[in-house]
C-alpha cells in the first residue's frame, strides 16, 4: 500500500507492529493505542521513532499528554463512510496543537484527499495505487473553500471581504 507524504509517494519509514509481535531493535514503529498506553515510557526510550494508531471510537484524552513525544499519529477509516477520524484530526491539529505526522489509514481513496488535508492529515496510506498516483492532481481539484479549518486556506467569505476592502481602498 503506497504512502503519500508531502504530495508524493514515498517510502514508509514506519513499520506497523501488531499487538504481541516483537518490536524491531530500532527504526520507526507504529503501535496500537493499547500497546502504547500499557507502557509508553518503555516504548519512547527505545531507539527509533514511535507512532500510535488511534482508534476512531476512542476519546483523545489519553493520547493528548503524549503528543509532543510522538512522531506519528495514525487515525483510522474502517470504511470511507465512517468519518469520525476527521473530527479527531481537527481536534489534534487545531485544539491540541499537534504538529507531527498525522496519518490517514484504512479505506483511503482519492475522493477523500481534499477533505483529509483540510482536516489536518499530511500522510496517507492509500488503498489503490492509481489513487496514490493521482494525489497531486486531485489536490488541485478545488480552489474555493467555504469553511475555515486549521489548514489555513482562505475561505470564500474572507476572499470576498478582502476584495471588497481593496475595492473600497482603491476608490
Amino acid at each position: 500500500m503506497p504512502l503519500v507524504k508531502q504530495g508524493r509517494i514515498t517510502t514508509d519509514l514506519f513499520v506497523h507492529v501488531a499487538d504481541g509481535a516483537e518490536l524491531p531493535g530500532d527504526g520507526a514503529v507504529l503501535v496500537t493505542a493499547e500497546r502504547f498506553l500499557a507502557d509508553p515510557e518503555a516504548l519512547l526510550r527505545r531507539p527509533g521513532k514511535v507512532g500510535v494508531v488511534w482508534p476512531n471510537n476512542r476519546n483523545l484524552d489519553d493520547l493528548v499528554p503524549h503528543l509532543d513525544r510522538l512522531a506519528s499519529v495514525a487515525l483510522v477509516f474502517p470504511t470511507f463512510r465512517d468519518g469520525r477520524a476527521y473530527s479527531q484530526a481537527r481536534l489534534l491539529r487545531e485544539r491540541y496543537g499537534y504538529d507531527g505526522e498525522l496519518r490517514a489509514t484504512g479505506q483511503v481513496l482519492r475522493d477523500q484527499f481534499v477533505f483529509m488535508t483540510r482536516a489536518g492529515f499530511d500522510a496517507f496510506e492509500v488503498k489503490k495505487d492509481a489513487d496514490a498516483d493521482a494525489f497531486a492532481e486531485t489536490m488541485k481539484r478545488y480552489s474555493v473553500f467555504y469553511q475555515p479549518t486549521g489548514d489555513g486556506r482562505v475561505t470564500a467569505l474572507n476572499r470576498r471581504m478582502q476584495q471588497r476592502h481593496s475595492e473600497s481602498a482603491g476608490q
Binding site: R81, G83, R84, Y86, S87, Q88, D111, R141, Y142, M161
Partner: protein
C-alpha cells in the same frame, strides 16, 4: 434572490468535474459499485426500481426563472419531460442515465444550481419558509442565514461522512411553514431583549421509523455564533452518533439516548472549547451575504385595484383567489401559491412545458422569482394585485390554478412503490384516488384545512406522521396495507398523529378516509373548527368508533 459570484460558480464547476471523474471511474470499473454508491449519493444520485433518480437542490426554495427554465431543459433533454418537487425543496428526475448525469449537472451549474449533498450521510439542502422575505410579520429574511449555512455546510471537510443524513431548516415567522420541528436542527429566528438577531435552536426532530419532535437545546444563540454552535452540535454527533445500526444513526436517537440535558451539556462544552473561532460572523460578513440578495423594486400600488373589484364577479376567480392568494408584506402585492395537486395527478409533479410557461409568467408578474414549498407546491412571491385576474387565466390554462391549497386534495406523497426501491406500497395512486373522491372543490372548501400525507414505507418521505391524516403503506403477506393516523401536524405546534385502528387493504383506503372526513363533519362543533382541532378536542376514539363500527 441570491446572486452567485465567481467563487460560488467556480466551486460548483469544480464539483461537477470531480463527479464527472467519479462517473468515469465507475464506468471503467476502477470504482466498485460499493465505493461509487457513497460518492453518487453525495451528489444526489439514487438507484431506484427502474433507473437512476437524480435530486437537485433548490436551496431555501428560491428559484430564478432562468433556473426554472434550466430545470425544464433537464427534464426534457435527460429525462421524460417532467420533474417531481419534494418535501425538502428539491426536484427529482426519475429516469436519468448515469453516463449523461455529468452533462446534466454541467447544464445546471451554468445557472448556479447543483445536486451537492441532496442525499447521502451529510448535511442536506438547507430549507426555509417558501414565503421568506415576503410574509407579513416576518422578523427578518431567513434566507440570509440559510445562505450562510448553505455555504458553511457545502463540502464540509469534517462532516461529509456523518453517521446519517442531517437536515437543517430555518423559519423567521411566527407560523412555521418550514416544519423545523421535524428536522435534525431547527432554527427559529427571533430577537433578544437588546434587539439582536439570534436563533432558538432545536435538535433531534425527525420522522422515519422512530419519529421525534425536535427539542430546544438553546433558547437563544446569537446570530454571530450560529455557525460555531451548529459545528459544535455536529462534532458531538459525528463522534458519538451510532454507526452500528442505520436505523439508530440519526441525531434524534443520540439526543433521545443521552437525554436533551446531557446532550446539551456535551454541545455546550464543545462549543466553549471552540472559543472565539474563525466561525464567528462579524457584522461585515453577514452584510456581505445580505448584499448579494436582491429585492424587487415594488411600486406604490392600491390595496384594492379596479381589476380586482371587477374580477370579483367571476366565481371561479374568487374561489381561486380566496384559496391560493395570500397577503404580502407590501401593500398592493400578493403571494400566489400554485397547486401541483391537480385532480387525478401525482402530487408535486410538473412538466417541462409547465415549468417553461410558469417561468414566463414569473417574469411577467413576479419579478422573475419562483418559490418551492415543502408541501410540494410552488409560489409566485411578488404578484401585483391588479395582475391577479390575468395571472389566474394564464395559470388555469396551464393546469396550475387548482383551488385546493391546504385542502383535503393538497396531498403530500412520496414516490412510493411506483418508483422507489425502499417502498412497501404505492403512494401516488392512493393520492390520485383521493383527489378524485374529493374532486368537488366546494365540498373540499366546506371541509376546510386538512392535510393528508402519504408515505409508501416507514422511512416517511411523505411525512405521514405529521399529516392531519397520515397514511403509511406497509406490506402484509405480500399485499399492500395502510396504517392510518389522525391529529398530526408539522407547524409550530408539531406533533405526531395517533393510529386510528387496524391497517386496511389498498382498495379500502379511500373509503376509510371518506369516513374519517364524514365523522369530522359530524363531530366538529362549528364550521371554523379545523379537522386537526376537532381531533385534539375529542381524541381519536369518536373517530375510531364511527370509522370502524361497520368494518
Amino acid at each position: 434572490m441570491y446572486a452567485y459570484d465567481e467563487l460560488d460558480r467556480t466551486l460548483i464547476n469544480e464539483r461537477v468535474s470531480e463527479f464527472r471523474d467519479q462517473v468515469k471511474r465507475r464506468l471503467s470499473g476502477e470504482l466498485t459499485e460499493d465505493e461509487f454508491k457513497i460518492l453518487r449519493l453525495q451528489n444526489g444520485v439514487y438507484l431506484q426500481l427502474h433507473a437512476y433518480m437524480f435530486r437537485v437542490a433548490i436551496p431555501y426554495g428560491t428559484l430564478s426563472t432562468k433556473q426554472l427554465r434550466r430545470l425544464a431543459h433537464v427534464a426534457r433533454r435527460y429525462d421524460r419531460g417532467y420533474g417531481h418537487f419534494t418535501t425538502r425543496q428539491n426536484i427529482q428526475f426519475n429516469w436519468i442515465k448515469l453516463a449523461e448525469l455529468p452533462d446534466a449537472l454541467a447544464d445546471l451549474a451554468e445557472v448556479g444550481i447543483h445536486a451537492m449533498q441532496t442525499s447521502g450521510n451529510n448535511m442536506r439542502n438547507v430549507t426555509s419558509d417558501q414565503w421568506a422575505g415576503v410574509a407579513p410579520g416576518e422578523i427578518e429574511d431567513p434566507r440570509i442565514w440559510s445562505e450562510l449555512i448553505r455555504q458553511h455546510t457545502t463540502l464540509h471537510p469534517e462532516f461529509s461522512f456523518l453517521p446519517r443524513k442531517f437536515k437543517i431548516a430555518i423559519t423567521a415567522s411566527e407560523h412555521d411553514r418550514a416544519a423545523i420541528k421535524i428536522h435534525d436542527i431547527g432554527l427559529r429566528l427571533h430577537k433578544n431583549a437588546d434587539g439582536e438577531t439570534g436563533f432558538e435552536v432545536l435538535v433531534g426532530g425527525g420522522l422515519g421509523r422512530t419519529p421525534f419532535i425536535a427539542k430546544t437545546i438553546k433558547p437563544f444563540v446569537h446570530g454571530r455564533d450560529v455557525l460555531s454552535y451548529i459545528e459544535a452540535i455536529l462534532r458531538v454527533y459525528n463522534q458519538y452518533g451510532r454507526r452500528d445500526n442505520i436505523y439508530k444513526a440519526r441525531i434524534k436517537i443520540l439526543v433521545h439516548e443521552l437525554g436533551i440535558e446531557k446532550f446539551a451539556k456535551e454541545v455546550e462544552e464543545e462549543w466553549k472549547q471552540m472559543g472565539d473561532s474563525e466561525l464567528r460572523l462579524d457584522h461585515a460578513a453577514i452584510e456581505e451575504v445580505r448584499s448579494r440578495f436582491s429585492y424587487p423594486a415594488y411600486e406604490k400600488l392600491p390595496h384594492m385595484p379596479d381589476e380586482l373589484k371587477q374580477a370579483a364577479h367571476d366565481p371561479l376567480f374568487e374561489r381561486w383567489r380566496k384559496n391560493s392568494v395570500s397577503p404580502h408584506k407590501v401593500q398592493g402585492y400578493s403571494i400566489v401559491t400554485l397547486s401541483l395537486k391537480p385532480v387525478g395527478g401525482p402530487p408535486g409533479d410538473a412538466t417541462a412545458e409547465q415549468m417553461d410557461a410558469l417561468a414566463d409568467l414569473a417574469d411577467k408578474y413576479s419579478f422573475g422569482e419562483v418559490r418551492v414549498g415543502h408541501e410540494q407546491n410552488l409560489a409566485l412571491p411578488h404578484v401585483a394585485k391588479r395582475d391577479l385576474p390575468a395571472l389566474f387565466k394564464a395559470l388555469d390554462r396551464l393546469g396550475l390554478a387548482t383551488p385546493n391549497v391546504n385542502l383535503v386534495t393538497d396531498i403530500i406523497a412520496c414516490p412510493g412503490l411506483d418508483y422507489c426501491s425502499l417502498a412497501n406500497a404505492r403512494s401516488i395512486p392512493i393520492a390520485q384516488e383521493l383527489t378524485r373522491r374529493f374532486a368537488n372543490h366546494d365540498t373540499a372548501g366546506l371541509i376546510g384545512r386538512l392535510h393528508i400525507n402519504i408515505s409508501g414505507c416507514i422511512n416517511a418521505c411523505g411525512h405521514h406522521h405529521v399529516g392531519h391524516i397520515g397514511i403509511l403503506g406497509v406490506e402484509k403477506n405480500g399485499e399492500e396495507f395502510y396504517q392510518i393516523t389522525i391529529g398530526g401536524r408539522a407547524d409550530e405546534n408539531a406533533q405526531m398523529g395517533t393510529l386510528i385502528g387496524p391497517a386496511v387493504p389498498y382498495a379500502e383506503v379511500a373509503d376509510v378516509i371518506e369516513d374519517i372526513v364524514e365523522a369530522y363533519l359530524a363531530l366538529r362543533d362549528r364550521p371554523e373548527e379545523l379537522f386537526v382541532d376537532t381531533v385534539k378536542r375529542l381524541g381519536v376514539e369518536p373517530f375510531r368508533e364511527r370509522v370502524y363500527a361497520t368494518r
